[in-house]
Symmetry: C2
């Protein structure tokens, strides 16, 4: 006998589509909701409805926001001539937490994955090139220092060729609290090659 109710199986299948969620975890989610009761399920559906109704894509930088243009793109306190390019909106959340950046952003909505060759059509690259051509002074690439990040920088660099815009990238090197002994070779070689002048 299959003792799993159809509605349970169906929700397990939907939860399984979330990143990093396998069948066991999905089932634990469903059972948690059933044990927690109606209030908890309602809380979740209501929040999903609000997400659906209130969140849209910013027409300038393609982050997710409740208004378009988003708060940062609309602010006259932000320098519109410096554009920090990130892979996902979460990267903006992390950078804004630091509070040290006063330019604007551009969300690519992913990176080029040379191993899986997903193509570049879904990425907001032509939109970035248009913004760069529209009077930007500096493009800062703020991708993860991975194969995907490097490939994406190289690809965009070709698109930007000839435009009078400075291009920089986040520094790579030892992370704060990191260890020379346990750092991988690529990190250590990069930290050595890009060694910084000690300020007097």
């Amino acid at each position: 006998m299959n003792p799993r109710p159809k509605s349970v199986q169906q929700l397990v299948d939907v939860f399984k589509r979330l990143p990093g969620v396998g069948p066991k975890t999905a089932e634990r989610f469903v059972m948690h909701l059933l044990k927690a009761g109606r209030g908890e399920v309602t809380r979740l559906t209501r929040s999903l409805d609000e997400l659906q109704n209130n969140v849209r894509s910013c027409e300038v930088c393609f982050t997710f926001a409740e208004k378009s243009p988003c708060e940062i793109c609309a602010s006259d306190k932000r320098n519109k001539k410096t554009i920090c390019v990130v892979a996902e909106p979460q990267d903006i959340f992390a950078l804004e937490k630091v509070g040290a950046y006063s330019g604007v952003y551009h969300v690519l909505r992913g990176l080029i994955d040379p191993m899986h060759d997903a193509g570049v059509a879904h990425l907001k690259i032509s939109e970035l090139v248009a913004r760069a051509a529209g009077g930007a002074e500096e493009i800062i690439f703020a991708f993860d220092p991975t194969i995907e990040g490097e490939t994406t920088i190289q690809f965009i660099e070709k698109q930007l060729a000839g435009l009078p815009v400075a291009r920089t990238r986040l520094a790579t090197g030892l992370p704060a609290g990191g260890s020379v002994e346990y750092a991988d070779e690529v990190t250590l070689a990069g930290a050595l090659a890009n060694r910084q002048q000690i300020k007097k």
Copy 2:
């Protein structure tokens, strides 16, 4: 500037209440849904609605089912005099997959946790005692072999004292494909003490 839209933060907070989900995972779920688009969010809310509307607690065994009594409790092919007690409905799913059991079940909806002393009022123990007193011949405890499982068996044993019902528990020992060398001491001691006669 806090670039996280309010509706995103709200859904992150609800997802964080799922078991094993921290703030980063919850945020990844929300971003996945936003990138996947309306269809995906609708699929999830619709499945949640169906769960809410279709799944109830079986009035006999307290599993989650689309009917009450559930399919197993209602089946005349199942022996109602043998009751297998489990902690959660998922344990029934696992046992039914084996296909070797023809009795019925009783879901406690948790185990006694002596370390956190959550009490026993929320567990379906008095309902089990009532079923045991109503003509059951055997109660099989099918809990995880943990402190919580042992404590729960001991507690229920006291409640069942005097009732003319056999009590058994799942065998403990080496799991199939397990290793004598790497088995923990409690498992090995138990496997030795409960060694089984080899059938000729």
